[in-house]
Point group: C4
């Protein structure tokens, strides 16, 4: 299968999953009791959970594009790995909603942080697996090998990072949740600051053109 | 109508339906009673239902692409058949949610399994119908007839397979539900293992190019 | 603005609105009381409402494509008319859910049928308005005028037809609801049976190619 | 990254967010008490909130397209700014639902109007930021500078306008809500009436073609 259609389908799942995150900001809770203004302010963990998940999934979308850019095509194994990756991306609205609702309560914060962290750890593992498989089997002949090994290096820390932040929830759920926000912020800012100029590809450049 | 736009619209419906499956994992249930960690563990049928439906719809998306790849165009009858197929694909979040919520209770497991199975049996019948109509009327002149009859052979068992798994719910709902999971696993693994090399199409290959 | 991007955006709204229709089949109702099998059978108006709305929106999507195929471009007025049309398409999940929930009860069936009918009547009016504006201002120079006036003729009955079915709800809500189903069936079958051969456009034909 | 894929992803988020607005029209409320017809009429603030948000997001989509049309490519900073913009667009269904539910009650109308206004003010600021960054760093070499400064001029009033309408909620929430509707109407009508002829781009024109 040509990668174009796999990317278009994946883009669709990313775009829908990221937009469904708003369902985590529950008007049901706001409807509960007290004045609306009090309720809306009380929802602050939901706003943060929404923003952190949105930025995280947004960065994953950018990375997903970067990976497929290096693949010459997609075989059945890659399609299966990609389906599993999309399954964990599309799962994100659920842990986001759980964190949004339960981060307030001391007793339930740990379970919420664990669920949230397990999902992103799994996503990071699947991302790495997709890349390791694809970069060995389906690489475009004109791919720059330094760039390829640079991507591999930059993807290796993802799963341990999310795994550590998840395990920290056993000691301190609050610290764990803050770490997820910090990771998202770090990736967002570092990519914006250190993003190399080569990323700017002209609108008119043909996709398969490796020159300049 | 050119098949490209029908495929794009169909891709959209597939991508949305597959992402809406997460609504089957109900935070409402988790909100009920008991500690959150207990609630989240108690949701295990919902996680499995989500994964099985996701893989099943994901495989159907890959198959849908394969079918349209062989069609030279789309007439009104094909559009109608495709609309009916999409209607059953877009229906999937409902039986998935029903299984997710009711697989726990002995008394309701049978009804949930029947609903789930009827939906996929119908989907398999519509897939076969779409292919039988399109492969007789709208085949591309350059289609490889061995590949065409290979697809026909591989699609014939789908409806009887899902139909049998559905009927088994009358004897044992649990066995029926396990069979749906096994079918999804079987299709996923067999396609990844036995997927032929020809499926790897270069990113730069033109869609209409039958050579190599 | 080139019509391609307007069509892609419109396709997205159509695809999402049609897939959100499944939210009309409420698991909340199934959760209520009685055995699950009884509840699922009791949901039959929801299944029919889902199917009728799905086929209706699906046909509207096909028609939308047909209209834009004749436009050379999109000016701001057309964009505004198209936004209003999409607004009524995206509204469809709400009346569908209302019919799905309230068609059962004698006292509320009239209000549900009126809401459902008003939405589709408005949609039909906006469709006609979009076509009348676009076909006078933005027609492609190579458009076949017989085809253009054929489309105008075929669109004129839509609004009166839906308007009549809506008004009949005052006399008999049940008849009104049946009429919406019959209209959807009629359009679906007639388009499949009488769909002309010219609709089959080769996958490789260029969009702007007026020949053959 | 080529702008085409960023635009396609953004279009997806716009299309999904605009279609999810229908969730603001809550059937839960209609299910409450009284006859259905009474309930449906009582929902009028929800219909208006839906329409105002739909038109506003629709216009923002048109503007988003206009901006990216002038960019030669997308660097990492633009991707980050665009992600933040999409985050506020995708947030819109929440304040829309809050206005839809709470505009009825005198005590909660202020909080609802503030939430609604803050969201659109933030969106307008992010729009301006995206444009100011992109128009200085990523402009296409063939961009018409008069058009570029024309866009800058037309975007400057957005944030102050929404900010003022938001602040007015402290004096009169009803006036504030009416202003949001008037702003949407104004943009819609003015763009349709004053939309220049140059906006009509031929379907066959190549995207990168600056001539004629």
């Amino acid at each position: 299968m040509e990668t174009g259609r796999v990317e278009a389908f994946s883009d669709g799942v990313f775009a829908i999953a990221i937009t469904l995150l708003i369902l985590a900001v529950g008007v049901d809770q706001a409807r509960a009791s007290g004045s609306l203004s009090h309720q809306l302010l009380h929802l602050w963990p939901a706003y943060i959970a929404y923003a952190v998940s949105f930025v995280t999934v947004g960065i994953m979308w950018i990375n997903h594009h970067q990976l497929f850019h290096h693949f010459a095509g997609a075989d059945r194994t890659l399609l299966l790995l990609n389906t599993l990756l999309l399954m964990s991306i599309a799962f994100t609205p659920f842990p986001t909603r759980v964190v949004a609702e339960f981060a307030h309560t001391n007793s339930d914060r740990r379970a919420a942080a664990l669920l949230y962290g397990i999902n992103f750890t799994l996503t990071a593992i699947l991302f790495l697996g997709l890349w390791l498989y694809g970069s060995r089997r389906l690489l475009r002949p004109d791919s720059d090998m330094r760039e390829v090994s640079g991507i591999t290096r930059s993807y290796l820390p993802g799963a341990p990072l999310y795994g550590t932040a998840t395990l920290i929830a056993f000691a301190s759920p609050t610290t764990s949740l803050i770490m997820f926000a910090v990771i998202a912020l770090f990736y967002a800012i570092s990519s914006a600051v250190f993003g190399r100029n080569e990323d700017t590809v002209a609108r008119t450049a043909s996709v398969g053109d490796p020159s300049s």
